[in-house]
Structure formats: structure tokens, C-alpha cells
């Protein structure tokens, strides 16, 4: 659909940064709960992006 490009960009970003993030996440010297922190940050980002999109969402599907 319309946000395909965004997805591709995200995937590219994920591909580029995943080694760094993964290394940081599972670094044996770091805290064991690091993956959970990253996860929580992702959820927060999702919360803010989706929350902002909501008004648009309510306008969709004018007539079926």
C-alpha cells in the first residue's frame, strides 16, 4: 500500500543497525535485561507513532 516505502526503509535500517544493536544487546558484560530495554523502546515508538495516526484512522472507509 502507501507505506511500502516506509517499511522498506525500516527493513534497511534494521539490516544496517541490527548487528550493532544485537552486539550491544547480548554483550556478556552488559545487564541481562538489555534486550528487554530495546523491546520497551520499540513499543514506546510504536505507541507514539500509532497514537498520532489515530485521527486519520477514524476518517477512513467513508462508504463501503
Amino acid at each position: 500500500m502507501n507505506n511500502q516505502r516506509l517499511i522498506i526503509l525500516l527493513l534497511l535500517g534494521a539490516y544496517v543497525f541490527s548487528p550493532t544493536i544485537l552486539t550491544w544487546m547480548i554483550n556478556p558484560d552488559g545487564a541481562w535485561y538489555r534486550p528487554f530495554i530495546v523491546w520497551a523502546i520499540v513499543i514506546l515508538i510504536a505507541f507514539f507513532t500509532q497514537g498520532r495516526d489515530k485521527p486519520v484512522d477514524s476518517n477512513k472507509n467513508p462508504n463501503v
Binding site: 500500500m1 502507501n2 507505506n3 511500502q4 516505502r5 517499511i7 544487546m25 547480548i26 556478556p28 541481562w32 535485561y33 534486550p35 528487554f36 523491546w39 520497551a40 520499540v42 513499543i43 514506546l44 510504536a46 505507541f47 500509532q50 495516526d53 489515530k54 486519520v56 484512522d57 476518517n59 477512513k60 472507509n61 467513508p62 462508504n63 463501503v64
Partner: protein, 976 residues
């Protein structure tokens, strides 16, 4: 710590009754809607995803794979994070076509009944280990809790009896709350409650592990420093490939597991709140995942003498907390219950829709709904029994992780088919069936068979191939790889059927696709009802058609093919919700079929426009620009001041612009999408004949509109259609040429009159000489004789020749009227002209006696030719006199209006009939008896006035109150 069997039995039954009660009071409406429909409730109800395996087995997974275990949550969480993109198309399809299960979805997309039956079989095979896992978890935990009290064999027996009892209660619950057709409010609330209990239990045990066993984070860090092998355990396995395979498997489960699909898509929460779920469900999963590692480590720290998969129960038990042990047990029971109920409900729908209903024939005269209900109940009961028997046959030989992987790897086989639904329209049924079959066979040989029979290798072409759950990683990759390869390969190299293409395009609806337009052979909604009465019974048929009409906001009298097609699709969708896609499409295809032969390559313009209208707000970038361009062109055509309509090659009206609507009086909404034959006369005949004809232009076709003649010119152009078939759409332009036609007729008439005029001038000239001769001879005769009879004859001859002369003179002067020059005009008194005319007329004693009122003032002066103006007055006054009654009054009045002199001559005669008013100024038009008038008088007046740059107008009646009289008004310029 130990528990009595009866204690645990009571707690379990008590808890199940509580869940049961929550479902019950929700159905009764005792729980406020704000709670039942709250997003949190829906998100929690999705929590059935985390079955007993997530509660117990994941700790074992963490033990084996370290961080790899998080894949279970991260995979699913990632899928939901991208729900608006990844899941939304599936959710939309589910909602629109009332798809009730994954098998229904695949059948809908691939239009193959065989695929439905196959998917149901594979799903059943794949899900049995998952059901056995739930029963095993419940049985094992019971066993652990009461172990110290019972002997080994007695424990097993009690465990089996408890598991059977558990199965029975769950079957009852499922039958009561999940088998009706309506939205299962009770089920959703109960499942949400279970998820809540589950997550609270798990978090509580996690906190116990962290703060009870380790004294908080600092204590945990100390312990980890002391036993670094535990931290090592976290990292080592993630470097292997298996954790990536795990991630793949777990991503797939979120859409291909029947219970997730059932709860997420068909029970509605996702439909309304895709965006909330996007973050809320991953959050739920995060909460579920947080306590895993602390519990695992606490298990090690406490030296719990249990397998890692039961550490969730073992940690509170060996820590010595009785209440938390019960809570952990309840949490596990809760997780198993939720998963089992929903899995069996969704499998029941599949079995019913894809195995039983196509094989059984329901009797339409009996209540179809109650027959379905009883069938469902029977299937639910059988499923529970089957799950129990499978669990017993496994004999507790496998860990929860093994059973879960067994189930997940089989459901992984549906992934290619599902992914193609929304994203690859080319995929076809042959590819799907071949792929799933191949994948399932590999899975069955590699995993299921070894689990059932205990074999651990297979000899093939002299090679020994290792089998069994230890090989899950290879089996998963090989089965999915071959499955995908076959699916893609066969889909690319075999053609799609028309039906399949149609469904595929419906599925990829948010793409700008080319939906094929299919023709129906029904012409009204009533006809559909009638046809459906045969398979459904008339009452059900009527109900379903009404429901679909309501869904679409259509009227019962609908006749447009486009609307009927939508109606048919809607009925099929609604029926699918009732009896499954397989049976529903079977009924519709048999009784209200699409005629495919005619529709090859016909694009459904109306549908495309409708969809673009709906998705307008979703379009961005170039798509939005293109859509704006489309709207612009459409508006241009729509508002073009020429009547335009376009026709599909099967004569369906695709466009009807506003000028067309104005010309025909038929609104665009009424006809767009309907067949040409549905048009009202006379348009239907006119347009059909022209559309069928070979000519591109058909000028001036007479038609009758509102009892008046109209002339329409038609033009036509072909729009290049599908190249392969040579079909062409048409665009027609209709032009109302009525006005031009009337003008042309008038012009012809004037031309004829002009010819007559020129002719008569010549004739008059020729007649003049002999008439003068006759007059001379008659005068001579008067002098030559005294015979009174001869004298009388001569007098008669003179009077007749005089009349001929006058007629001839009028003709000549009429025909010469255009040649007088305005430069020769002099100022004349209109009053004198009128007086002269009155004097002349007064000489005619034999005519009607009337009173002339010359009210003109002497100051009324205008430039002109006095003789010709006298002629004007004579003609107008004599006409007035002839129309007037005896002693009637004729008024000549005049005044000055700015730069014009206005003279009005009115009489008290009967006036001029309306139909004559327009014609009296034409030459040769007369209402007088033949011989009385030439019909040239007024025409001559008109031309003289025109020569004077004036205007002549007539009003009748002049006296509006009495309705009598005529008034001629002359306007002359005061200066030339």
C-alpha cells in the same frame, strides 16, 4: 510442600467455574459494555496466544536457547508491531467476506474446495500435539503438586482422570459459549480474564524469583557473577542458526495458528483497533517474557528437582510459598484452558465448513441454524475426546518444547499460502496444494512419525537419514523450503482459473488492480431470493438477501448489474459466516453463477472507481497524484457541456455525465452500472440501435419527448479494449439539435417565400399591362354605349380590374419594398399621415362603419416616406376596421419615448388567436375569406416599418379585462 488431590481438584473446578461464570454474566449483559469492549479486554483476549507452553515451556526454551527463547515473543510481537501493514489486509478481508478461519481464507483466495479440506487436515494434524501439550502441562503440574501423596502409578491414573475431567468441563464450556453464530462476548471476556490471571501469576513468580530468591537485582548480579555459566548460557546458542529458525517459526505462528487467527481476526478486536494492538500486544508479550530468565535462574539457585519446563511451578513450590504455588498452577491451568477452548473452536469451524457441510446435505425446510448448532456441538465434543486420546497415546514421552515445535513446524507450512493472499496475486491453487502437501509429508516423516512410533532414522537410497524431534531445525527448513519452492514454481508455470483470478484480485484489493467484471444472469434482488430458496428454504433465503441489501444500503428493487454483483458477493460473504466459504460459494456458484465466458478481460470500472473512492485517504505520493489526475479527468468529462455516456462492450453503462443526465432526465446514479436495456424509452432504443450500428455518426434522429419533437445527433468512438479479445468499449456523444433543426426549417420556409415573392413581382408586372388594357377597353365601352346593362357590366369590369390593379400594385410594392433609400426620407407628420389614411378609408362606404379616433398630436414627427407610411396606416386601419363590430371604435394613439416615436392602433374586435400571433406578419397568411385578402398587407407593413428602421409588434387581447381587441404598436426612430 504437598497438596491433597481433592484440594487441587476443588481449586481447579472452582477456577473453571469462575471463568465459566464470567462468560455467563457477560452474555447476560451484567458486565458493562465499556469493560467488555475496552481495548485492554481485547488485547488480553489475544493473550490466549500464550498457551501453557508460554507459561511453562518457554523457561525450558530459555534453558536450551538462551536469548533465542525471546524469539517466541519477539517474532509475534514484531508481526503485531507492523499490524497496520502486515495484518491489516487479512483483517480487512476477514471482515468483508466473513471469513471464519484460516482454511476459509485460503479457500476464498485460491477458490479451491480441495485446498480447504487439505488445510483442515494438516491443521488438525499439526494442532493435535499442541492440544496434547496443554493436557500434558495440566496433567504434569497436577502430578507434581500431589506427587508426595501418591504412588507413581496412582499419580498417573489420577492425572489421567483429572485430565479427562478437565477435558469434559472445557468441552461443556466451549459448547455453551462458543458454538453460536453471534459475536462471542462471553468468550472474549473469559479469555481476557484468563490472560490477566496468567500474566499476573507469571509476573508474581518472576518477582518472587528476583526479590525472594535473589534479593533484588543486586543479588541476582552477585549470583550471576558467582555462576557465570548461566550468563554464558544466554549467549552461546544465539550464535547458532537455530535461533533464527525459531524466529521464523514464531513469526509464522502469529498468523497461521488457528486460535490466534480466530481470536485476532474473526472475533473482531483487530478490526476496530489495529492501531492500539500494534503497541499493546507487544507490551503484553514483554510482560510475559520479563520473568523468564529470573525464573530459570531461581530454579537453578533453588536446585529445583524438576525439569526446567516446570520451574514456573517449581520455584514457588520449593521456595515454600503455598499461595504462589497455587497461583502458578492456576496461571498454567488458565493458559492451557484459553488455548484449548479457542483452538478447538476454530478447528471445529474448519472441520464443519470444509469436511462436514460439503459432505452432508442440510435440509432446507428445517431450521438451518439449529441443525448447524447441533452439528457444531457434536464436533466440539469429538475434538476434545480426540485431543485426550492423542495425549494418552504419546504417553508423556516428550517435553513441552518438543510438542510445541512439532505443532509450530506444521503450521509453518501455511505461511507461503497466507503471504501470497495479500501480496502475490499470481499464486494459485495447484502451487498451494502441492506445497502444503510436500511440506506436510516431510514434516510427518521427519517429526510426527518418529514421535508416534519411536523410529529415529530412515533408510533412503542407502543413506541413513536421522529423524525425530532432535532434528526439528532441519525438518523445519527443508519442509518450508520445498513447500515454498513448489508453491512458487507451480504457480508461475501453471495458469490460474478465472474464479481464482477474480478472488486473487479481490484479496489484493488495496493495490490498484484490475478487477474482472463478471456477468450475472439474474436481473433483480427478488430473483436471487427465489433462486436461493431452493437450497436454503424461502425464509432463510429472504432473511439473507434482506441482510445483504441492508449491509450494502441497496433497495429491494435494485436492477443494476453492478449492484447485483455486489449483492451476490455480500450474500456469499454472509453465508460464509454461517456455513463456511466452501458451502457458501458452492451454493452461490450453483444457483446464482457468474457467466464467465462473456466476461473475459472485462475490467470492472465501477468497482475500481468505488475502491479508489474508499482508499482515497490512503493514497500518497504518485498514487495520490494519479488519483487526483483521474478525478480531474473524470470531472472534466462529468461537467463537459456535451451529453456523454460510455458503454462497456457488453453494453453496461460505465459513465453518464451531468449533461447527459440533464438531456435525458435520468440521473447518473440510477443508470451507472446498469445494462443498456434497463434504460427508459426513447433513449434505450435510440442508444442501443446506434451502439449496435456500424456508422460513427447518426444525424438528427427524431424522438418524442414530453409530447414534443426533438432531434438528437449521435456520435460514437471506440475505446480500445482488451487486445486479445478485440472487444471494444464505446463512448457516445449525444447532441440535442432541436433548435438548429427548427431554425433550418424556418430558413427554408423564408427562402421559399422569398422565391414566391420574386416570382409574384414578375407575374404582377406581366399582369399589369393586360389589366390596363382591359380597363381602357371598359372605359371606352362606357363612352360607346348608353345601354344600362352594358354600362353596368363596364362598371363591374372597371371595379374588378381596379381590384386586380390594387393587388398587383401591392405585390409590386411588397417585392420592391427593400429598395427605398433612407437618404430620401423627409420629416413627416404622423398625425397627417393617419388623417389621410382615415379620409381614404372613409370613402369606402360599403364597409363596416366604425369610428376612428385619431389622438395623435401634430408634434409627432419622424423621418420617412409619407406615401408608404400612409400605406402602413391604411393597411393597419383597414384590418382593424374589418375586425371591428358595427360602430366599433378604432384608436390611433402615439407618444414620444426618448428617441423613438410610438404609435398604437387598437380596435375592439375579437382579437387575434394565439396560434396566429406568430404568423400574421408572414406574407400570404390571412384569416380572411378567400378573395377578401391577399395575405400581403401586414407583411408589407412589416417590411415598410423595417425600411424605416422601426419595429412592429402585436398584442392581443388589447383590452385584457374584456379579452377583446388587438393592438399594433409601431416604433419609429426620431432620427435616422
Amino acid at each position: 510442600m504437598n497438596f491433597e488431590l481433592y484440594q487441587i481438584a476443588l481449586i481447579s473446578i472452582g477456577y473453571l467455574l469462575l471463568v465459566f461464570g464470567i462468560a455467563h454474566i457477560t452474555e447476560r449483559g451484567w458486565i458493562p459494555d465499556s469493560v467488555v469492549h475496552h481495548p485492554v479486554t481485547h488485547v488480553l483476549s489475544l493473550g490466549i496466544f500464550a498457551s501453557a507452553w508460554a507459561f511453562y515451556g518457554v523457561v525450558d526454551l530459555a534453558f536450551q536457547f538462551g536469548y533465542g527463547a525471546l524469539a517466541y515473543y519477539l517474532g509475534t510481537g514484531a508481526l503485531f508491531l507492523f499490524a497496520p501493514v502486515v495484518l491489516a489486509p487479512l483483517v480487512e478481508l476477514t471482515r468483508r467476506y466473513q471469513v471464519r478461519s484460516l482454511a476459509d481464507l485460503l479457500v476464498f483466495r485460491y477458490h479451491s474446495l480441495g485446498a480447504g479440506a487439505l488445510v483442515t487436515l494438516c491443521m488438525l494434524l499439526g494442532i493435535l500435539p499442541l492440544l496434547a501439550l496443554q493436557l500434558q502441562a495440566v496433567g504434569d503440574t497436577l502430578h507434581i503438586l500431589i506427587r508426595s501423596e501418591s504412588s507413581h502409578s496412582a499419580g498417573i491414573t489420577a492425572k489421567e482422570i483429572m485430565a479427562l475431567g478437565y477435558c469434559g468441563i472445557l468441552a461443556l464450556f466451549t459448547i455453551l459459549f462458543g458454538s453460536n453464530r453471534e459475536e462471542h462476548k462471553g468468550l472474549i471476556t473469559a479469555m481476557a480474564f484468563e490472560s490477566l490471571v496468567k500474566v499476573i501469576a507469571l509476573l508474581a513468580i518472576g518477582l518472587l524469583a528476583l526479590y525472594g530468591v535473589f534479593d533484588g537485582f543486586a543479588g541476582l548480579e552477585l549470583w550471576l557473577d558467582r555462576y557465570p555459566e548461566n550468563l554464558e548460557l544466554l549467549h552461546t546458542p544465539i550464535k547458532g542458526a537455530s535461533s533464527h529458525t525459531l524466529l521464523l517459526i514464531f513469526i509464522a505462528t502469529a498468523i497461521s495458528m488457528p486460535h490466534i487467527y480466530h481470536m485476532g481476526m474473526t472475533q473482531n478486536p483487530m478490526v476496530n483497533m489495529t492501531r492500539t494492538i500494534t503497541w499493546a500486544f507487544p507490551l503484553f508479550l514483554l510482560l510475559m517474557a520479563l520473568p523468564i530468565f529470573p525464573i530459570l535462574w531461581a530454579g537453578f539457585a533453588l536446585d529445583v528437582p524438576l525439569p526446567a519446563q516446570y520451574f514456573t511451578l517449581g520455584v514457588p513450590m520449593f521456595f515454600g510459598s503455598k499461595s504462589l504455588t497455587i497461583l502458578a498452577f492456576i496461571g498454567g491451568l488458565s493458559a492451557a484452558t484459553g488455548a484449548m477452548v479457542v483452538i478447538i473452536l476454530s478447528l471445529t469451524t474448519m472441520i464443519l465448513n470444509h469436511w462436514l457441510l460439503p459432505a452432508l446435505r442440510l435440509k432446507p425446510q428445517r431450521n438451518i441454524f439449529s441443525q448447524l448448532l447441533w452439528l457444531r456441538r457434536a464436533v466440539i465434543a469429538t475434538m476434545f475426546l480426540g485431543a485426550y486420546l492423542f495425549y494418552r497415546s504419546l504417553n508423556n514421552d516428550y517435553s513441552l518444547t518438543h510438542l510445541a515445535l512439532l505443532a509450530f513446524i506444521e503450521t509453518l507450512q501455511f505461511l507461503p499460502g497466507i503471504a501470497a493472499i495479500a501480496y502475490w496475486a499470481r499464486g494459485n491453487r495447484r502451487g498451494l496444494i502441492a506445497g502444503i502437501m510436500a511440506g506436510t509429508v516431510i514434516w510427518a516423516i521427519g517429526l510426527l512419525m518418529p514421535v508416534m512410533t519411536g523410529t529415529d532414522q530412515l533408510q533412503l537410497f542407502g543413506y541413513m537419514i536421522p529423524l525425530g524431534v532432535e532434528q526439528w531445525h532441519n525438518v523445519a527448513l527443508i519442509s518450508l523450503g520445498i513447500n515454498t519452492l513448489l508453491f512458487v514454481g507451480i504457480s508461475v508455470y501453471t495458469p490460474q482459473s478465472e474464479d481464482e483470478l477474480y478472488s486473487a484480485e479481490l484479496c489484493t484489493e488495496d493495490e490498484i488492480s484490475h478487477p474482472v467484471r463478471q456477468a450475472l444472469d439474474v436481473h433483480s434482488a427478488a430473483e436471487i431470493t427465489q433462486r436461493l430458496s431452493e437450497p436454503l428454504g424461502s425464509a432463510t433465503a429472504e432473511k439473507e438477501v434482506d441482510l445483504a441489501l441492508n449491509n450494502l444500503n441497496l433497495s429491494v428493487n435494485e436492477r443494476r448489474p453492478y449492484a447485483l454483483r455486489r449483492l451476490r458477493d455480500q450474500i456469499e460473504a454472509n453465508l460464509s459466516g454461517l456455513v463456511g466459504i466452501h458451502v457458501a460459494s458452492g451454493i452461490m456458484d450453483k444457483h446464482v453463477p457468474f457467466r464467465l465466458a462473456e466476461t473475459r478481460g472485462t475490467i470492472d470500472i465501477n468497482l475500481i472507481e468505488n475502491r479508489l473512492g474508499q482508499y482515497r485517504t490512503h493514497l500518497t505520493g504518485m498514487a495520490a497524484d494519479l488519483n487526483n489526475l483521474r478525478l480531474h479527468h473524470r470531472k472534466t468529462l462529468q461537467e463537459l457541456p456535451m451529453a456523454i455516456c460510455s458503454l462497456g462492450h457488453d453494453q453496461e453503462i460505465l459513465m453518464w455525465n451531468s449533461a447527459m443526465a440533464k438531456l435525458t432526465g435520468i440521473d447518473s446514479i440510477e443508470v451507472t452500472g446498469s445494462h443498456l436495456t434497463a434504460l427508459a424509452e426513447p433513449w434505450q432504443e435510440l442508444i442501443s440501435n446506434f451502439s449496435d450500428s456500424d456508422c460513427d455518426r447518426l444525424p438528427k434522429q427524431p424522438i418524442q419527448l414530453n409530447a414534443r419533437s426533438h432531434w438528437i445527433s449521435l456520435h460514437k468512438a471506440s475505446i480500445e479494449g482488451h487486445l486479445a479479445t478485440g472487444d471494444q468499449d464505446q463512448v457516445l456523444l449525444l447532441e440535442d439539435v432541436t433548435e438548429t433543426q427548427l431554425l433550418e426549417e424556418e430558413l427554408l420556409h423564408s427562402e421559399r417565400l422569398a422565391t414566391v415573392g420574386r416570382l409574384s413581382a414578375g407575374v404582377a408586372h406581366e399582369i399589369g399591362n393586360p389589366v390596363t388594357g382591359i380597363a381602357c377597353l371598359a372605359q371606352n365601352l362606357q363612352y360607346d354605349t348608353d345601354n344600362p346593362e352594358v354600362l353596368e357590366t363596364a362598371k363591374q369590369i372597371l371595379s374588378q380590374t381596379d381590384r386586380v390593379s390594387r393587388i398587383v400594385h401591392s405585390l409590386v410594392s411588397f417585392s420592391h419594398s427593400g429598395q427605398h433609400k433612407q437618404q430620401e426620407f423627409e420629416l413627416i407628420s404622423l398625425q397627417a399621415c393617419a388623417a389621410e389614411a382615415v379620409n381614404l378609408l372613409s370613402l369606402q362606404k360599403e364597409k363596416t362603419h366604425v369610428i376612428y379616433d385619431n389622438l395623435l398630436e401634430e408634434s409627432l414627427i419622424a423621418p420617412g416616406d409619407s406615401q408608404r407610411l400612409i400605406q402602413v396606416f391604411i393597411n393597419l386601419l383597414s384590418n382593424a376596421r374589418d375586425a371591428s363590430p358595427e360602430q366599433g371604435r378604432i384608436t390611433i394613439d402615439g407618444f414620444i419615448d426618448e428617441d423613438k416615436v410610438i404609435i398604437e392602433i387598437s380596435d375592439e374586435g375579437p382579437g387575434i388567436a394565439k396560434e396566429h400571433l406568430e404568423k400574421i406578419l408572414e406574407p400570404f397568411f390571412t384569416t380572411k375569406e378567400p378573395g377578401e385578402g391577399t395575405g400581403l398587407g401586414l407583411a408589407m407593413v412589416y417590411s415598410i416599418i423595417e425600411d424605416h428602421s422601426g419595429e412592429l409588434s402585436v398584442d392581443s387581447p388589447a383590452d385584457v379585462k374584456r379579452g377583446i381587441g388587438a393592438r399594433f404598436t409601431i416604433e419609429l426612430p426620431r432620427e435616422i
